[in-house]
Amino acid sequence: MWQRSLLMATLLVSACVTVNIYFPAAAVERAADQIVKETWGGPGEPPKRNEPQSRIPSVPQSTESWSLVPAAYAQEADINVSNPAIRALKDSIKNRSDLIKPFMDRGSVGINQDGLLAIRTTDGLSLKERAEVQQLVEAENRDREALYLEIAKANNFARDAVPKIKRIFAKSWADQARPGWWIQDAQGAWKRK
């Protein structure tokens, strides 16, 4: 009798399938790569991303629970990154890029770990350039913050997904950065690409 009960319990447990709703990191990566290419692409080094790998669903970054049973992952689809707000932000970022890139080339501005720009140093800049770089970085970061927020909203991500989007974008900005640009790693250290 107890063997039958044990068998039934085992069957019940093994029949339970946990569906994890996770953050679609790979899709966001693809979207980030595309947006970065559209806005800041051009004369820089072409992205050297391993495409097949990027299409593999990434390991879930946040699981709501853990269980002894195998987890089944929801099929990952491309995310929405097209609406007027995102388009306007992309246009704004793209239009500004030619003004910012010279400061990136000179090392004055770097890409930080949050996918934003940071003024690393103002050495070698005239005061006019310092004012200009401050205004540009401030406007650029305002657009980038809005872009990350709009992407989260367009895809119905929770607000706490925004930092993840930022980190993914940070990687895309860094990957597609020109050689010589300064990148901030996850530990906050600045390195030259």
Binding site: N80, N83, A85, R87, A88, L127, Q135, E138
Partner: protein, 974 residues
Amino acid sequence: MYGHFMRRPAIRTLSILAVLLLSAYIGLYLLAKSQRFQRWLTAQLAQRTGYTIEVGGLSLQLPLRFVASGVQVFKSAEPILQAPQIVITLSPWDFISKTIHRIQLNQPILYFDARQLLDSSTQGSLGVAIRHLTIYEGALILKTGDARSIDFRSVSLSANDLNLGQTIGLTFRAELPWLKSQAEISVRSQAGEAEAEIRIHHTLGNRVLALPGSNNPSRGHFRANVKLRKNKPQGWVVVAAGDLNQFMIGPDTTTGEFDIKTEIDPAFQEAAFAGRLAVTEFTRRMGSIGLTKATQPATATFGGHYSISDQLLHLHAVHLQSAWGTAEATAAVGFAPRVNLAKGRATLRQIPIEALQQFFPEPLRALAVKGIVESELEFAGPWPTVEIKGIARSHDAQIASEKLSLARLSFSAPFVWTNGSVLAREVQIQANSLSVNRRDRATFAADEIRINAVLEKKPADALNASGKMRILRGRFAAGDGSKVGEKIDLNAHFDTRVAAEKQVTSLAGNLRIDQGELLWGRFFGDLRARRPAADFDLDYAAADDTLRLRRLSVSLAGIGSVDITGNVERVTESPLLRLDLKTDDLQPAGAFDYFIRDTLKRSYPILDRLRIAGRMNFSVRLDGSAEQWTGQGNMHIRAGEVRDHSDKWQIGPFDLVLPFRVQLPVPPSRGEALPAIPTGTLAITSARVGSESIPPLRTTVAAWNNALEFRQTIPISIYGGTIEIGNLRWQDFINHAETVAFSLSAKNLQLQKLTEDLGWYRFAGTLSGSIPNVESTGSVLRTQGEMQMEVFGGKVRIAPVEVKNPFSGLFSVRLNARFEDIHLELASETFEFGRISGIVEGSVNDLIVTSGQPAQFIADLQTVAKTGASQWISVEALNKITVLSSGNEAGALYGGLATFFDNFRYSKLGFKATLKNDNLMLRGIESRDGKEYLVVGTLLPPTVNIISHTQQIGFGELLRRLERITESGSPQIK
């Protein structure tokens, strides 16, 4: 009984003795008074000393004090001593030892012949000692020959133990109260040579102070040995040598040694001297300024001659070598009729600036200075009003402190110093590297500073300095780097008056910045075009740490000037402002362009489109600290104008008179009782939107405690109707300019003109409605209420409306719209969609338009059957609907019989659509068998059904279809 007999003889003896003594004293008294005794006494003294002595009177006072009056002593008819009174006190015991107990000379005149004094052979010997000698208010007249003499007045002396009878000639002690010292002087005299030894000991009360570190009390703080030798036939030689051991003059001590040799000619007319003075430690004071104690040795050699007859001293070669530099000097000093300096020349070399630092004002004394000063001086004139002319120079000096450094400092200062007054003309100071680091890490620096000035200081008067200053390539930076100035060339003229006693510094003048760059946060200013300038006239009172601005006028070219008066209290701590600011002709356009447009245009592109004009004047009183202040005053803008750069709209000219009161960081709480708030007026003479002119309007406005409000409803006649803005109010326009509230109502605005000016499809109709509350908070503007458009024969009700980021590129509008009785025929004609008749109703909810593009909506629109309303659709409209829904031309679909008709009947037309993330989900008015009908035909021909097979349309595809609809002109049904 025995005692009785013994006491009586004793009393008798004592009585007899007393009578005898009394008789003797009376006898002595009478003797002293007798002329005979006086003649005998003067004769005896004349015989023993060789002097002629005259005594006016002699008397005896108790106990044994002889008072001689009118005493005169002559030798060879030459006066030696004249004294109104001489008091000689004798003691029986001293008398036995040939000692006079005390001699006091009151106001005597003593005459000395220098030659006789130096000639030791003339010395006599009395063989008498004087225990105490006091001279009170006497005069010494040193006769130098040829009826010339040197007078020493007001001489007082107190000497003890004078021995006049031994071979040494004279030994005495004297009190020197002005040196707090006691002197021991012994004079020896032998044939052809006299020697004097002088020792001075400092005293504390009656106790002689020992020398620190010395067990020999006889050494003295000052010791000199003077030898006088007759050197026939050349005259006399005087050699003096000695030393000083922490010898105190005033509060200071000096240690060193000296030797001087003087040769006096036989005629006693000329004295040639040469000497050396070496000190290892000395301190002095120069006026009220104490000099730094010098521990480095200093040596001075000097030589010259003194004309005794002319009383003229010639210093041929004075050479001073010390750690404070070297000096070479020559001079002539006359002593008659008074001290007079002539032909004085001095060259000072290698003087370290540190040595002069004590002359600097107090704050500068703490600086570390390096450098060498040289000076050439000429001095002449009577003492003490000697006039000194000269020039002081320095090259490549350095000044440094924790907060300040100044390198390659050069200065040249020609000056004249007369009787305590200093006048320095053409003072030139140049420094090539200035750096100032403040406590808050702010730094100031300049590559070059040039000052040309005139300085004048008179006794009991303030120091005046005037001149000009030029700073080249100046720069400053705040500690956090947020405020930086560079390449600043500044010219200034100044007139300074420093009243040290009153602790008041006055400064007047002007300054102008010819070029420079300024970074202030995000603001960048090129100063070359604006030429900032300031005129100032101010006082700084150190006693109460207050800056009093009589006048400060700051101006920027193309913007205007501001005049500032008032006080700044607690300047060096936490400044407290009480200032009045006034400007008469400020150009808002210049201020807007310079300070706002270029700074914020990247964040707020709309600012780049604005053009400002007009003139402004204001007066404001500022009270408070930098952290919390209140400004109250009046502002007047004349002929003001704000317009779009492409001339799409314009407000102005307008006139604004505005009393205001602002407070930072926060306004007073609303609960505070306030006096009646003054109001101003805004009068707009003209305004225009597109081609639509707005008639003049006038309203009241108040700006008080940071709140800006228009208390009257503002009626604006426009587009054939009226817009009324009411209760327009910014609660805190200083801190939260984006937070504004108002009510809005529109009456019968003619849409024909409105749509034309907006660049939309032109359509007729009116816009009316009332929004009782519009609130803008942060970047979002929300409305409550409803606007109503009467258009296309029906109504469109719009509510609520929400606007986000109104001033950024991400401008977004969200609203719900309800359509009622819209005549499709009018609408389709307006939008050139092809002819469609019928009445449509429905809603578009959650419509969001971002950057001019629809970003989201949920639409449900469909025709409603109404009596008398036909429902026809033209081929053109069918074609466009087909293109829009399928992406394909309708030609192939409407072949056959359809080509014979221009219009088709329908029973229903409409759609349900949602748009989100550029995906349009289009569904029909009816769903049958899985088909979505956009147009449902009638039973009677000619009729048509349009079935949508592609329900999802991407944004790009939708744009292409719309382009095709726009491009397609005539129907393409075949």
